[in-house]
């Protein structure tokens, strides 16, 4: 589904990603871990198409398409979803309106008719239940006045609405209390199917108790330096990254 080959990128002339290779097949869950500043969020942003970063080398294919040649919105419409680490507020724009536009843009791209108001509301109700999102939140402005936990639940709610082929979740577990973490993580698990894939970026093993990864990758200085199974996350939790970094150097 996702094939990343030798991906390099720079921001303001500084190289952040230095040759990432990653292959994600349908039905898989991948976790990307690594010390602060290793390039995890940058990697997610580049896949989503953020223009702050300049891709200098490499290729990415997504579902057979040349991902790097697509606009941000087309990547999204084609089924790539990014759960933001810091979701932004859009004052005055209701969640319902925002999602309606998003869902219908995706449908248009796929040659489908827009959803009727009734079908849309039904979909919203059904999907907000997955993350136990208070239905009142959907009538409020996008992320405006949402607590940290609500914002993250709202990301997963949007993921549920858009039903992506590939979801990249950038530190979805940061800033969550224990209950919110459970709700968000089980939400993601519920959305996982054999015909889609999930990449979670995290610092903590505790998220992986819920979302069990098939592969755990360690990113360091813009490269994946080690790949293991779910036991790697446990080992990292106990021992930190030093042993790996030493081994790499």
């Amino acid at each position: 589904m996702l094939e990343v080959k030798n991906l390099h990128c720079t921001v303001e002339g500084k190289e952040i990603l230095r040759g990432i290779n990653l292959s994600v097949r349908t039905g898989e869950v991948h976790a990307i871990m690594g010390p602060n500043g290793s390039g995890k969020s940058t990697f997610a942003s580049v896949l989503a198409g953020n223009q702050k970063y300049e891709v200098t080398e490499g290729e990415v294919s997504f579902d057979g398409m040349d991902l790097l040649g697509m606009s941000i919105e087309d990547r999204a419409r084609a089924g790539l979803f990014l759960g933001f680490q810091y979701p932004v507020e859009i004052p005055g724009v209701s969640m319902a309106n925002f999602m309606k536009l998003a869902v219908n843009e995706q449908r248009k791209y796929r040659g489908l008719e827009p959803l009727s108001a009734g079908d849309f509301l039904r979909l919203m109700r059904e999907k907000s239940a997955i993350v136990e999102l208070d239905s009142k939140l959907t009538s409020r402005a996008v992320n405006e006045g949402f607590s940290g936990g609500e914002k993250k639940k709202n990301e997963i709610f949007q993921m549920a609405m858009l039903d992506p082929k590939l979801a990249i979740l950038d530190e979805t577990d940061s800033g969550l209390d224990i209950d919110a973490l459970r709700i968000v993580a089980t939400g993601v698990t519920k959305l996982h199917r054999p015909d889609n894939a999930t990449v979670v970026i995290t610092h903590y093993q505790r998220l992986l108790d819920y979302i069990v990864p098939d592969y755990v990758h360690v990113l360091y200085k813009g490269r994946i330096i080690y790949t293991g199974d779910k036991s790697l996350a446990l080992k990292l939790e106990e021992q930190g990254y030093d042993w790996l970094i030493n081994q790499y150097q």
């Binding site: 223009q51 702050k52 606009s71 919105e73 990547r75 004052p91 005055g92 996008v142």
Partner: protein, 481 residues
């Protein structure tokens, strides 16, 4: 220029879609302004002598005045002798049924999205349409008349209700008020008149649609609304004009009288031709709008969505004379390309416990200049007066300007006056977030701008709110660099 900026740039450069000209026979008078012209206008309209004299008096006053230059506007010299002060579609503007309406004229209003029959049948909105200088159609007159509500063109009002007109015309905006008000009092050609009698709640939105069509003309309409004790009316005006390379002058006056326990809501969606993207052409919109809350508990609310005109100079105001009366001003002013707007309000607190609320949302794009100018004045007698003002500016791109000029004059220690102001930009992060959800930058800007203006748009009657939303998005097409 990165991708987003390019798209923003394209969006904000979209063309004006009401720029067509209707090919219709027009009855005009010679260019220029003098007493003879004024008497000619009055004669064309078959006015009584008192009205003619009013006009002449105003004209003489105007001769002694000069253009105001205090606004944050760069206004080119206007040659008042180079304007045609009266133009009317030649077809007799009196219709008993839609069949009698000139098909070209009907087509024009259809293009503007106000098919008169449909409005009559479906939306229950009573419409008065003013093309160039003359009111061409007032719908629903009979239905309203049954309730004692008068809704007609100003010309008809002068003819049929001279006592009401003489009593109220010029009572809120006298011809001595300012340069443009004097000019309007001298040459105004038509407009709408509305009187809602005691205790009557007008059951439908009343609406006037203004259209400038003929070249080289100015439009000077005069609107007068009177809500007698305990009455209620909601009123809406919309405006468009064809695209022309020369500038055209629009100097209107709106007066509103609100008696004890009465309420008037006045909404404007102003979309006069703004000029092209190089700043050529467009309407000069110099308008005086003022209402008075004469009695206790009177309420007056102005809502405006201003997206058109090359230059806008306009300050819909409330004189809060009655005790406990309430004035409100909700405004969205959007400027793009080379448009200039200096707009705001005046809240004059005279009565006890009077309250006013100002919510102004400026949006500047392109190389436009957008100013909010507002006065809150509390007189000695206005014990317990309260005002809350909120002035927000949204900047799109880095070549435009947003300015806020709030004036506060309080002669009463018990007054509570609050002012809040913010300035913001559409952030790259917001655009990225929308893009990542599949929403292209063009739609995202429209969405964000509409969200920003939500509080004001919510004050508009439903069908006009939707219209205004679309208008905001369209007016921004082509805007940021």
């Amino acid at each position: 220029m990165d991708e987003n900026e390019k798209i923003l740039d394209d969006i904000t450069r979209q063309e004006y879609k009401y720029g067509f000209v209707t090919d219709i026979e027009t009855d005009t008078i010679p260019k220029g302004l003098n007493e003879e012209i004024i008497r000619m206008i009055s004669a064309k309209k078959g006015e009584p002598a008192w009205m003619t004299e009013n006009r002449v008096k105003a004209y003489r006053q105007w001769l002694t005045m000069s253009m105001p230059h205090w606004a944050h506007l760069d206004i080119p010299e206007i040659d008042y002798q180079d304007i045609i002060y009266y133009a009317a579609p030649r077809t007799t503007p009196k219709y008993n049924s839609m069949d009698e309406v000139d098909p070209e004229l009907k087509a024009t209003f259809d293009k503007l999205g106000i098919p008169l029959e449909e409005q009559m049948a479906l939306s229950g909105v009573a419409v008065d349409a003013v093309m160039d200088s003359v009111s061409v159609k007032t719908t629903f007159k009979e239905t309203l008349a049954e309730m004692g509500i008068i809704f007609c063109s100003m010309s008809e009002a002068i003819r049929d209700y001279p006592d009401l007109v003489r009593k109220y015309l010029g009572s809120v905006v006298p011809y001595t008020d300012n340069f443009f008000a004097a000019l309007n009092a001298a040459v105004f050609s038509d407009g709408s008149f509305c009187y809602v009698p005691k205790g009557v709640r007008c059951p439908m939105e009343l609406s006037t649609y203004f259209r400038i069509n003929a070249a080289g003309t100015g439009q000077f309409e005069r609107t007068l609304i009177v809500a007698d004790e305990g009455a209620y009316v909601s009123y809406l005006e919309g405006c468009t004009a064809p695209r022309r390379d020369e500038n055209q002058l629009h100097a209107a006056v709106v007066e509103i009288v609100v008696m004890k326990d009465a309420e008037v809501k006045y909404s404007t969606v102003q979309n006069w031709y703004p000029g092209d993207k190089e700043g050529k052409g467009g309407i000069y919109n110099f308008v005086t709008k003022r209402g008075i809350c004469r009695g206790e508990n009177a309420r007056l609310s102005w809502t405006q969505v201003e997206t058109g005109s090359a230059i806008t100079w306009k300050y819909p105001s409330c004189i809060l004379a009655g005790d406990n009366s309430v004035g409100e001003f909700y405004s969205v002013a959007l400027t793009n390309n080379f448009q200039q707007a200096d707009t705001g309000t005046k809240m004059i607190h005279l009565g006890r416990n009077t309250r006013s609320r100002i919510v102004s949302k400026g949006i500047s794009a392109g190389q436009s200049q957008n100013s909010y100018r507002g006065l809150v004045k509390v007189s000695k007698k206005a014990v317990g007066a309260r005002n809350y003002s909120q002035c927000d500016s949204l900047l799109i791109g880095d070549k435009c300007g947003a300015h806020t000029f709030p004036y506060v004059e309080s002669d009463n220690r018990s007054a509570v006056i609050e002012h809040e102001a913010t300035t913001s930009k559409i952030s790259d992060d917001q655009l990225m977030y929308c893009n990542q959800r599949g929403i292209a930058t063009e739609e995202a800007v429209g969405l964000i701008v509409n969200g920003y203006a939500r509080e004001v748009l919510n004050k508009l009657p439903m069908e006009f709110a939707i219209e205004a939303q679309k208008l905001l998005a369209i007016s921004l097409e082509g805007s940021v660099g």
